[in-house]
């Protein structure tokens, strides 16, 4: 009965509604990386959950601030003494209040994920239960934040408390977030960054949080929530001090568990990134439909490459999340295809898939994806054209940009084609060496002095 009144009369509905409206408004009104490759939030349920954790950088201060406003209610309405005369213990009321505020804040967060789930289903994305730990840790963080807000609001019922606490949470959240976001900003990675619930951008649709991150954050936020509740319910200074124990214990357990470097934050998703193979060709379970499409053109392309010395014998999907600052991994025996970043490849037909395998004679660019280069893409286009006999734009990221300055590449292709066949073969072998070691100019290897 009291719980129902608290659900209706406290700030709880507004807290949940604020989380829901802010998150959905942000996701739907603005276009950002959450709508784009390599990690659209509609492609995979785990990615949806990871984007939700990214949003916590500003949703968490809302939950904490709402809790603080509610925590001050008794003293603002001048009824603390009246409540002290009741014969029931303080925690009876605290349970109802904390339950109402925590539950509706959590519900708001969960509804955002629900909308994401509907979007994933509507876009034909990949659904698996692996999102559960990511969402549950987020829920626990929202509940812990609102309970800490309640406790602080009750302890310090001053008009300044709520804004000061919300500002402080926001500053801490942003600092923690920048330490996890990696190369985007100059802050170094720190384990303390994981004490706030927000994660950096996922940058890949086949990743999830590492088990150590989930475990440590579960312990830490559980400790924080218990402390928030105990301080809210306690009536003596001693009980409040004792109530701080869980959060200290949580931090002491969580900090050593957290990964030591930023590289340990995200791991391949156990279900979506599982390899599905058909002979020499392997793709992830999330892109299983590509396996049938890749079967014939993939084998054709491997047969064409086979005349090169040390030719690749397998085709595998690139599973790691995208990095803006380092070049893709390379392997002499394996051709890596990146279905996450290259949307054209994900919907491409047999010709395009064959072209993608043949590009660069089976090797990726030596440049990070954010830096396009005519020499680099041009050389890989010409290497593919050497096998197919026709110069075509590669089905990969940045190809449209190169298409606009295709003049020099066509010139280089014409020069290359006029060479005797043995020379052409030797140059393609040399190009493979250049792309494997990433030393030297790739286009210069094929056609010396082609672009100056």
């Amino acid at each position: 009965m009291i719980l129902r009144i608290e659900l209706r009369r406290s700030i709880a509905p507004w807290a949940g509604l604020a989380l829901l409206v802010v998150a959905l408004g942000f996701l739907f009104l603005l276009s950002g990386p959450w709508w784009k490759v390599p990690a659209p939030w509609t492609a995979h349920t785990t990615t949806t959950a990871l984007w939700l954790r990214f949003l916590l950088v500003f949703l968490w201060p809302i939950a904490v601030g709402a809790g603080a406003i509610q925590g001050m209610r008794d003293s603002r309405s001048g009824m603390v003494e009246l409540l002290a005369t009741t014969s029931r213990p303080g925690w009876h009321r605290a349970v109802r209040l904390a339950g109402a505020v925590g539950a509706l804040s959590a519900l708001g967060f969960l509804l955002v994920f629900g909308v994401g789930l509907v979007e994933v289903l509507g876009h034909g994305g990949f659904v698996s239960a692996r999102f559960l730990p990511v969402v549950l840790v987020g829920l626990l963080a929202v509940v812990a934040g609102s309970w800490v807000g309640l406790a602080v609001g009750r302890l310090l019922p001053h008009p300044l408390t709520a804004p000061a606490l919300a500002v402080l949470t926001l500053v801490v959240s942003i600092l923690a977030w920048t330490s996890l976001e990696g190369a985007a900003l100059s802050m170094p990675y720190s384990r303390f960054g994981l004490l706030a619930p927000a994660l950096g951008q996922p940058r890949g649709a086949l990743v999830t949080t590492a088990g150590s991150v989930d475990l440590g954050q579960t312990v830490w936020f559980a400790g924080l929530a218990v402390t928030g509740f105990l301080v809210l319910a306690a009536n003596s200074a001693r009980a409040r001090l004792l109530g701080l124990l869980p959060v200290v214990a949580g931090a002491a357990i969580a900090l050593p568990v957290f990964p030591a470097s930023a590289g340990g934050l995200l791991v391949p998703d156990g279900v979506a990134a599982q390899k599905v193979c058909d002979g020499p060709i392997c793709v992830s379970r999330a892109h299983e439909d590509r396996l049938a499409a890749l079967g014939v053109p993939g084998r054709e392309a491997l047969a064409m490459l086979a005349k090169l010395p040390g030719a690749p014998t397998r085709i595998e999907e690139q599973l790691a999340p995208d990095s803006f600052t380092t070049a893709p991994a390379r392997d002499p025996g394996v051709v890596h295809l990146d279905f996450q970043r290259d949307e054209d490849l994900l919907t491409g037909d047999a010709t395009e898939l064959r072209l993608a395998v043949l590009a660069g004679a089976g090797l990726p660019s030596c440049l990070p994806p954010s830096r396009g280069d005519v020499a680099d893409v041009g050389a890989r286009m010409i290497a593919a054209a050497y096998f197919t006999g026709e110069l075509k734009l590669l089905p990969e990221y940045g190809a449209k940009w190169v298409g606009r300055q295709s003049g020099p590449i066509e010139g280089a292709w014409a020069k290359f084609r006029s060479l005797p066949p043995e020379v052409q073969f030797d140059r393609v072998v040399a190009l493979r060496q250049t792309l494997l070691t990433c030393q030297g100019d790739p286009l210069d290897t094929l056609v010396p002095g082609a672009v100056r």
Binding site: V22, G32, F58, H158, L160, P163, A166, I174
Partner: protein
């Protein structure tokens, strides 16, 4: 003089002013080596959010019975908050080597003050901090795709010449100041 002291006390001005100075100094101290438009925005938001707690009295009905020209006093209170928040940021950034354009600070201070006042008008002075903090919290995570929407949403971080950002800030400031000056905080 006695009236001003009583007014200041009833509107929590001493606490708000102390908190404004503490928030400005605190955020500046954290960000002094990487001072740019994001720390400026955070500093102004923190300062204005804590200063906005006094934007409604203890008893608006009682205020109304006093035969005083309230609009002038309300406007003076707003102007004081804006000048204090903007002035504090301008002052602290002179202590370091990096400075942000004064027009950005003026624009952001005016717009954030307008947001705080709008929230105070709609929900009461104790909620004045909610809107500026909410908007500032979202701003750093908006991706600039060149569209007008993204420029309006991220107006606090636009460069100083951006007309969209200036107009957004101006609209917020004028709307907020006008409604609060005329009607005061929510009862």
């Amino acid at each position: 003089m006695r009236w001003a002291a009583l007014y200041a006390r009833s509107r929590q001005v001493p606490a708000a002013f102390t908190a404004l100075l503490a928030a400005t100094a605190g955020v500046w101290f954290l960000a002094r080596d990487s001072w740019s438009s994001i720390p400026v925005m955070l500093t102004l938001t923190a300062g204005i959010a804590v200063a906005a707690i006094g934007l409604s009295g203890q008893d608006p009905d009682l205020d109304r019975t006093a035969a005083l020209p309230w609009p002038v006093r309300r406007f003076a209170h707003l102007a004081l908050i804006g000048l204090a928040a903007g002035g504090a940021v301008l002052a602290v950034q002179e202590l370091g080597t990096l400075t942000v354009d004064i027009s950005i600070i003026l624009r952001d201070a005016a717009g954030l003050l307008g947001l705080a006042v709008l929230a105070a008008t709609v929900a009461g002075g104790q909620f004045g901090w909610t809107l500026p903090l909410l908007w500032a919290a979202i701003t750093p995570f908006v991706h600039d795709d060149g569209s007008t929407t993204s420029h309006i949403v991220a107006w606090m971080l636009q460069p100083s010449g951006s007309a969209t950002a200036t107009w957004t800030a101006l609209t917020l400031a004028v709307a907020g100041t006008a409604t609060y000056t005329a009607g005061g905080g929510r009862r």
